[in-house]
Symmetry: C2
């Protein structure tokens, strides 16, 4: 007849068939414990759901806390996601801890320490936004019962995997390119972000798919990568406009890249959209403020935030997610930077 009351150290010791001091050592990460013993004790700890006195105090008190770690502090994007998270957090009575952590700098040991600290201060889960997340890192959290969801992961999910929320980047890239093709453009360039970034790769392939479905051959000299920033837009646009056959339209994989395109167009006396059509990606407030206003693919950032928090809370409750990766729909927002191709420039 097992006791229903809160498990204490002795409970675990009995279950694991060791003494209390040994359990204590395992909990505190001492290294003078045999590996086999450690595993047996760990299993017992997990089984009874042991929590230290300070943890017992914390867990029971106040609303659940979920951490938010923002990898790339690029402002508009992450603030929109945060807004979605906060809106939902208020309705489900969850405190959101916006972490000042800069996870990319951390080694594996630090991850363990970080996860441990989060467990000790009673965090329910953690959401990463546009971060490089390793499976080691995810394991450090999930082993301690802290749920993890990644929004728009930069790297493809590792084999171990983690739950993630993203946008339909491929479909968005395809829609952007199809819009340009339907306006009569056949020479369309693609200006991408980091080569390794999943979202950028997906947008590129959407672009390629749209070209292919129209029977237009893709050209390697029309495809660039770099970063999601103005500088990439400037450099790539200069290069592509210097080609013998420059494109009549450009699909930039982010609004910030498109900003660089606009800058070079102005510099060279090209009017947008009359001489050059341009589609961006993200449809952040930026897209409303440029002249001309930017046709751009909108990501449902607030919804992504909400979905991530919902996912974390479900995982924390021990439920299964319907799918490890959720993709929410992007939408092309047509503004003033795209127009029908009139005359073909040589």
């Amino acid at each position: 007849m097992t006791s229903r009351s809160t498990p204490v150290l002795a409970t675990v010791a009995e279950l694991a068939g060791v003494s209390a001091p040994t359990v204590s050592k395992v909990i505190n990460g001492r290294d003078d414990v045999a590996e086999a013993t450690r595993m047996r004790v760990q299993a017992a700890l997990d089984q009874v759901g042991y929590r230290s006195p300070s943890q017992r105090r914390i867990r029971s008190t106040g609303p659940a806390m979920v951490d938010l770690v923002i990898g790339v502090h690029d402002g508009a994007y992450s603030m929109e996601v945060l807004r979605g998270i906060l809106d939902y957090a208020v309705t489900v009575d969850v405190d959101v801890v916006v972490s000042s952590h800069t996870p990319n700098k951390l080694s594996r040991v630090d991850h363990e320490e970080w996860a441990q600290r989060m467990k000790e201060s009673g965090r329910t889960g953690i959401i990463f936004v546009t971060s490089q997340v390793s499976s080691d890192q995810v394991r450090a959290f999930s082993q301690r019962g802290i749920a993890v969801v990644v929004i728009d992961p930069l790297n493809p999910p590792p084999p171990g995997g983690y739950a993630s929320v993203g946008a339909t980047n491929w479909a968005g890239g395809k829609a952007a390119t199809e819009h340009l093709l339907s306006l009569g453009h056949e020479r369309v360039a693609f200006l991408g972000g980091p080569v390794a970034a999943e979202c950028s790769i997906a947008r590129l392939h959407g672009y390629l798919a749209a070209l292919m479905s129209r029977g237009i051959a893709s050209r390697a000299d029309y495809v660039f990568d770099g970063g999601f920033n103005r500088e990439t837009g400037v450099a790539a646009t200069r290069a592509v406009l210097d080609l013998a056959e420059p494109p009549t339209a450009i699909f930039a994989a982010s609004d910030t890249i498109a900003l660089g395109v606009l800058e070079v167009a102005r510099e060279r006396g090209l009017r947008v959209p009359d001489d050059l059509s341009l589609v961006g990606f993200d449809s952040t407030p930026l897209a409303e403020q440029t002249l001309p206003r930017l046709t751009s693919v909108a990501q449902p950032l607030q919804e992504m935030g909400r979905a991530a928090l919902r996912g974390v809370l479900r995982l924390a409750r021990g439920e299964q997610l319907d799918s490890a990766h959720t993709e929410l729909a992007t939408e092309l927002v047509v503004r003033d930077s795209t127009a029908r191709l009139i005359s073909t420039r040589s």
Copy 2:
């Protein structure tokens, strides 16, 4: 010779001249302790800075945590403030806990409980944004060593007082009105927010001061109040346009109110700014999205957020603030909704 090591229960007991159990009772709020004894023990607790084991563990671990409580979840405004706070938080390595608390619903007892819970989870300070904050509430926190700063308090600081950060609402109201006067308008209406809201009152008085300095008499039928929302703008604009002598310009105390003004103008076939000039307040992204774009008084919301966090951290370090209330400068941003008065409508 007093020990320098962390004070434990016995330390306090000796200092207060009682036994350990008695100190334990005081800490846990038992009522079987004589009032005089309780006070003596409390004094000893404060003197040595006693913290329970769980508190000792928490305080020493991880970055400082500051809570943010958003009173009015009106989106754009509080998100800008939050952004300023987060920018600064990253540089000083502070975690920001965006609380899902709805403080206005809490009674005094709840305040004590809330503050206690915050202390137990090791919070350094708390920032309230556009909230009704009572001195009881502030006391509950500061008595537990949790620093409090209020951004743009809705009510005037009570006698006890608290540190606060705001914008120069009076100067902003004056600048908005002077802009309209300098364009030749003499019949200028004021559409305010809640009568009791400090910021709205200050804007009204800025408006009155501008009129007065030009020797223009203020008219009671040109002054309205309500809430910071579209509905107030709609109702007040209808009323003021129905006057025998309608105004040629309107100063709305928020962009959301101005939205209502634009709606009624459209409804009545009045062109803005040709037939009616309009100035808003806040200069949120909204002001960029209306047609015409809104001339509006910008509040330095991000700076206010930064200043509040800086203030909390200084208070937490035991430093004095230079001033209990800091006002950061507003700035009139002229866009397309104001124009020179051409013909006087009857």
